[in-house]
Chain length 136, copies 2
DNA sequence: TCCAAGATGATAAATATTCTATTTTAAGAG
DNA sequence: CTCTTAAAATAGAATATTTATCATCTTGGA
């Protein structure tokens, strides 16, 4: 846990117990939690935690490029603490989101007329499907 | 305009003036409006229109596969009346969304472990960039 | 140990969307 | 053309999500 403290202190985070709990929860987390999921999980450890603190921490992480918003689920935003570029697949039945670790950057070329209009800064692929658990 | 009436009647739509105005506004519309944009545009023609009617019509169109939700903009949902599969690029400065008419279906192959877990039903590519107007 | 910047938490507010109940209307039957 | 009924429209309340405000408290460096 020491390395987490150093990691975020070096990024300019002031580390309070609440914030540290959130950072530890997110570290290496591949469950793509919603703000609500983070909040209710943290409530167990810090019952006085407020939603504002969750959103503040999310905001601080986003500003430093350590967390990204996932919009694949139209119902609500999910968050992903993995800064490595990757994609996602969502089960349209249970809304579970799984990482898709593949690099499509070479194949996703834009039509010429759009290349003239835009300077591209990023790409993200959303896959939709039904997972084995929901197929039965 | 006759063909719009027939098109939607044959799909089981009860055509009220408000609904018809929304359908005409969306027909061939590539501006990817938000619910708010549809509402304020329709207000000009039907001042008594309520937001519920906008959402009801959106819902009815979605159920019939004639409208899809676009989640590329984390701020709000946009809607696209083009049922043909395609992708989008958003300007991260002005939030303008443009269609990307390209077929990547051959190149977007999933890693084997995910193919075992999911039956894929669809794919959508989000491109992020800055448009010429915002670059200056 | 002290201080200032920044974080917390309660609350209010803004935004987006859905729901409820009532009134109105479209469209087919007769 | 009128009647009937299912569906749609409306207003407004309700819910959910996210942001803002502000007084209080805490972290971390001087």
């Amino acid at each position: 846990m020491e390395h987490i403290i150093n990691k975020y202190k070096s990024k300019g985070f002031k580390l309070t117990p609440q914030r540290l709990a959130i950072l530890r929860f997110l570290e290496g987390n591949t469950s793509h939690p919603t703000a609500e999921a983070i909040y209710s999980e943290m409530k167990k450890v810090h019952p006085t935690l407020s939603f504002a603190t969750v959103y503040n921490t999310i905001q601080a992480l986003k500003e430093r490029g350590l967390l990204s918003e996932i919009t694949i689920d139209p119902e609500r935003k999910h968050f992903d603490p993995n800064p490595a570029p990757h994609h996602h697949i969502i089960c349209t039945a249970c809304n579970r989101i799984i990482d898709v670790m593949a690099d499509y950057s070479e194949t996703l070329t834009l039509p010429g007329d759009i290349l003239d209009q835009f300077t591209v800064t990023g790409t993200h692929v959303d896959f939709f499907g039904v997972c084995v658990d929901c197929r039965s």
